[in-house]
């Protein structure tokens, strides 16, 4: 068995963890080692799941998903001596709702802010955030009884009298402003993940939003970007997040993703889903003959056109956003298809959507996760980006 040198010490176990991604197409697991500076990927595992086992991030068939998790984890940790069970689960965008709640208040005194004052503020923000999230979920699903759990909470900024501060407690000032990001997922989904992780013999150390983790990386070098839009063309959905000042103001989902493009090729060419995926992969890598390329292109045409219309409607659905930042990051397995990227770049967005300027598109790659190092040498395609990005949640949870 081949062991990487830094795995030899048993006492480094505290810095090892797994990142798990459960999506409609497959279960992915990455094993990480945090050396105090960077996150090193020391193992990877992937197991395909049949169609319908996971839908929009929701686990439909627990047994199959549980077995797939075990296999993906086994593959990811087979070359690791001290196996870890600590797992960060990145929840698919299709089922999460992220929003930033900003509160400005005037204190009756300029004296030091006390702990109970801070706690009271946070509890009120949390309550307001939950109401906002619940209203949005009601609009999206029509289900007034859907309970939500907060899965990620993060300070976007804290200001006292216009100055940024790291914490509120003990600070002096009159005007307090706090922007807090919260990500919510349906309670049944959170319970479902907890249950399935227990059955898989894993220990959840954090449940986090995929989009949040990628946004946190984009805020850091090399991008250093605070105002942008992120479009994640995921397995069976496309998620849009609008980021201002480094906080996800709002996120929304369209139920069309990579799998729909595969299905489109499958149904029009009379191929199985697996065959259609390989044809699409070859098409994306420009490995088809010149006579085959137009055939695949025409298979995708209608679906991409509908997807693009859906994307426009999704932007129009952000009723709380007056203007969108023009910088747009594309990510997810769907952007492997060149026609998808061409379609989104070729659209005259400013005609119908209030962008501040004509959007500039760029694609997120592994190099955007500046402190993630792939020690296995095999994880570099965009489809692994979100699983790898979840490592930042571990850092925040462990306070390292």
């Amino acid at each position: 068995m081949f062991n990487l040198p830094f795995l030899e010490k048993a006492d480094t176990d505290i810095n090892k963890f797994l990142s798990l991604n459960i999506n409609a197409k497959d279960i992915r697991c990455l094993a990480f080692y945090f050396d105090g500076e960077s996150f090193k990927i020391i193992g990877s595992g992937k197991k395909d799941v049949p169609e319908g086992c996971v839908r929009n991030g929701m686990i439909i068939d627990k047994d199959i998903v549980c077995e797939a998790i075990k296999e993906a984890v086994f593959k990811a940790t087979e070359n690791i001596e001290d196996k870890t069970k600590k797992t960060v689960v990145a929840v698919d965008g299709g089922i999460t709702l992220g929003l930033t709640t900003t509160v400005r208040l005037k204190r009756p005194t300029t004296g030091p802010i006390k702990l109970d004052e801070v706690q009271d503020l946070y509890s009120r923000i949390m309550e307001a955030s939950y109401i906002q999230a619940h209203n949005k979920v009601l609009q999206n699903t029509g289900d007034p009884d859907l309970e939500l759990d907060s899965i990620t909470t993060s300070d976007i900024y804290l200001r006292i009298d216009g100055q940024n501060v790291a914490t509120l407690e003990g600070q002096h000032g009159e005007m307090v402003e706090a922007a807090i990001y919260n990500s919510f997922a349906p309670s049944f989904h959170v319970k479902s993940i907890q249950n399935i992780m227990k059955r898989s013999g894993l220990e959840i150390i954090a449940l986090g939003s995929q989009m949040y983790s990628v946004v946190e990386w984009i805020k850091n070098p090399p991008r250093n970007c605070l105002d942008f839009v992120i479009i994640n063309v995921a397995e069976d959905s496309t998620d849009i997040g609008v980021v201002f000042g480094g906080g996800i103001i709002s996120s929304k989902t369209l139920n069309i993703g990579y799998l729909h493009f595969i299905k489109s090729v499958s149904s029009k060419m009379g191929l199985s889903l697996n065959e259609a995926e390989s044809v699409l992969n070859m098409y994306s890598q420009n490995k088809l003959t010149s006579s085959e390329i137009p055939v695949v292109k025409s298979c995708l045409e209608d679906t991409i056109s509908i997807w693009l219309d859906g994307l426009k409607l999704l932007f129009e659905d952000f009723s709380g956003v007056k203007t969108f930042p023009p910088k747009i990051f594309l990510s997810g397995c769907g952007i492997d298809i060149p026609d998808v990227v061409e379609a989104v770049k070729g659209e005259s967005w400013t005609k119908t959507i209030p962008f501040k300027a004509e959007p500039e598109f760029s694609t997120l790659t592994f190099s955007d996760l500046s402190k993630v190092v792939d020690s296995t040498g095999s994880i570099s395609t965009p489809d692994w980006l979100y699983t790898a990005a979840a490592s930042i949640i571990y850092k925040e949870i462990m306070g390292i």
């Binding site: 319908g52 839908r55 929009n56 930033t100 709640t101 900003t102 509160v103 400005r104 208040l105 005037k106 009756p108 005194t109 109970d116 004052e117 009271d120 503020l121 009120r124 309550e127 307001a128 109401i131 906002q132 209203n135 009601l138 609009q139 999206n140 699903t141 029509g142 289900d143 007034p144 976007i156 216009g162 100055q163 940024n164 307090v176 922007a179 605070l226 105002d227 201002f244 000042g245 906080g247 103001i249 929304k252 989902t253 369209l254 139920n255 069309i256 729909h260 299905k263 489109s264 209608d302 679906t303 509908i306 219309d309 859906g310 409607l313 999704l314 659905d317 009723s319 709380g320 956003v321």
Partner: protein
């Protein structure tokens, strides 16, 4: 109207493809319970959007409670039940020291000012006497540049020749036909609906109901032969203004008269019998010892006498369902249903679809009355199912027709003005020269507009952006078929005398002469 029944696993793409695949322009989309489509309201929005693009009308139908919430929200009927965005979020009343005036999105990030301050502090070692004037200078310079780049606006007023154009043509809208300029036919389609309505009315028929009087009689036979009377034989009481008839309830034998030793004295044979009045009513009630005549016999042969009172006769007037009631209620309900069906068809119209007014034709599919004719009842209720068809056409199809129809009268490099365009449609109705049905209708279409030079405002804006004033004037003056023009760049800012690159700050006004 065609019905598409979806499977619960049909996703939004599959649904849209099914809508695309049908030729019919009016579609009833039956969405099953727990359909994938109800996982996100955007699915329904996207289906509606694509249907509108295909110029098809969609009627969403489901039994799913959550699905119905989403559909109502999509159609804008139930939106008021949803709370809005951040501005409507309610926060519990303040208990302690902190008040929350409002919740809103973060605004301007002023972090760069802090960075600038820090940079200056590092560079000049905190010497305020240098930093402050330099800072002010930098801010003024930045403000000036910002002002020059973002404030000036360019405006061009272009005066063009225009000619009024009015054309009127009789066009036939025909369901399932293709638009044909030569034969003046516009493609239409039939939009159908079914209405079920109930109406209750008072009945108008009447009838008399009641009981027949009954009692006993003694019948006397004065002849020397036995007399047999049959059930139903008639007896008549003649003591009232109208003779009252009664009938025997059973057969009865009345023995012959018995002779005695005294030839002057004969004992009549007698028998008791029960009788029933011929009709209902209290007039048949008569007292004891009243004499009745037996039909077919003389009084000297056979006579009857009441044995106790003939009683129990009574009558009253009650309301019943008349045939006329059924006809009236059916006609009245059909009139209401026709109106309701027309409104329903109007509600079903897709974006851009127009109903030919008066083309709605209804047909009674099923009628269910609560009572039959002659049934005793004060009320009659009818539940009526009416199917209705209306003729619809696409506004875009009509405009395409008109554009094509008038294209030969438009000179080269001229177009029809969209701003002043007015299209009036009048339904000609049923006459010897025109028809109006749910399949076909003649309409009079009148176009009023102006013919103006073909000037593409977006193209001019793109041509002008970033150009100097002189270049801009050259570009405008080179446009064909214009009378005069004005060009302004305001406010004039030194060093920033070019047309803005942001086309939102370029205003083109076309004025007709």
């Amino acid at each position: 109207m065609i019905r598409i029944t979806l499977q619960p696993t049909d996703n939004v793409i599959e649904t849209i493809n099914k809508i695309r695949d049908v030729k019919d322009l009016n579609i009833e989309l039956i969405i099953p319970k727990e359909s994938l489509l109800f996982e996100n309201s955007l699915n329904l929005k996207l289906i509606q959007f694509e249907a509108d693009k295909l110029e098809k009308s969609i009627d969403f139908i489901t039994n799913d409670e959550i699905g119905n919430n989403l559909i109502e929200s999509l159609l804008g009927r139930g939106s008021e039940t949803y709370a809005g965005e951040e501005t409507q979020t309610t926060i519990p009343k303040e208990k302690a020291k902190i008040s929350l005036p409002r919740i809103s999105l973060p605004k301007l990030n002023i972090g760069f000012l802090n960075n600038l301050k820090a940079t200056l502090r590092n560079r000049f070692g905190g010497r305020k006497e240098i930093i402050i004037p330099l800072g002010i200078l930098l801010i003024l310079l930045a403000s000036f540049i910002w002002y020059g780049l973002n404030v000036p606006r360019a405006s061009a007023k272009i005066v063009v020749h225009s000619q009024p154009l009015t054309k009127s043509v009789t066009v036939k809208v025909r369901a399932e036909a293709s638009t044909d300029i030569t034969n003046k036919i516009i493609r239409g389609s039939t939009l159908s609906t079914t209405i079920e309505a109930t109406l209750e009315k008072d009945t108008t028929g009447t009838k008399t109901v009641g009981e027949k009087a009954k009692g006993k009689v003694t019948i006397y036979n004065k002849t020397s032969s036995e007399i047999k009377l049959d059930k139903g034989d008639k007896l008549t009481y003649e003591g009232k203004s109208t003779d009252l008839n009664y009938y025997l309830k059973e057969d009865v034998d009345i023995p012959a008269t018995t002779s005695t030793s005294d030839p002057e004295v004969n004992i009549s044979g007698k028998a008791n019998a029960e009788i029933t009045a011929a009709d209902i009513g209290d007039s048949y009630n008569i007292d004891d010892e009243k004499t009745l005549v037996v039909s077919g016999y003389k009084r000297s042969e056979l006579a009857a006498e009441t044995d106790g009172k003939i009683s129990g006769g009574k009558s009253e007037q009650v309301k019943i369902v008349a045939q006329e009631d059924k006809t009236n209620i059916s006609n009245e309900l059909k009139t209401t249903s026709t109106q309701q069906a027309e409104n329903d068809i109007k509600n079903k119209l897709g974006i851009g679809q127009k109903l030919v007014l008066g083309s709605t034709q209804t047909q009674i599919v099923k009628e269910s009355y609560t009572k039959n004719v002659n049934d005793e009842s004060d009320k009659l209720s009818l539940t009526q199912s009416v199917s209705a068809d209306g003729l619809v056409y696409m506004d875009s199809e009509l405009n395409r027709f008109i554009d094509e129809y008038v294209k030969d009268v438009i000179p080269q490099n001229f177009v029809l003005s969209e701003k002043d365009r007015e299209v009036k449609v009048e339904v000609l109705g049923n006459s010897t020269n025109s028809v109006l049905t749910s399949k076909e209708a003649d309409i009079q279409v009148t176009l009023k507009t102006f013919v103006v030079p073909n000037i593409n405002e977006d193209q001019i804006k793109n041509d002008l952006k970033g150009k100097s004033t002189a270049e801009a004037i050259n570009i405008i003056s080179s446009i064909k078929n214009i009378n005069s023009y004005e060009f302004n760049l305001k406010p004039v800012v030194p060093f920033f005398r070019k047309v803005p690159k942001d086309i939102n700050r370029i205003e083109i006004t076309i004025v007709k002469e």
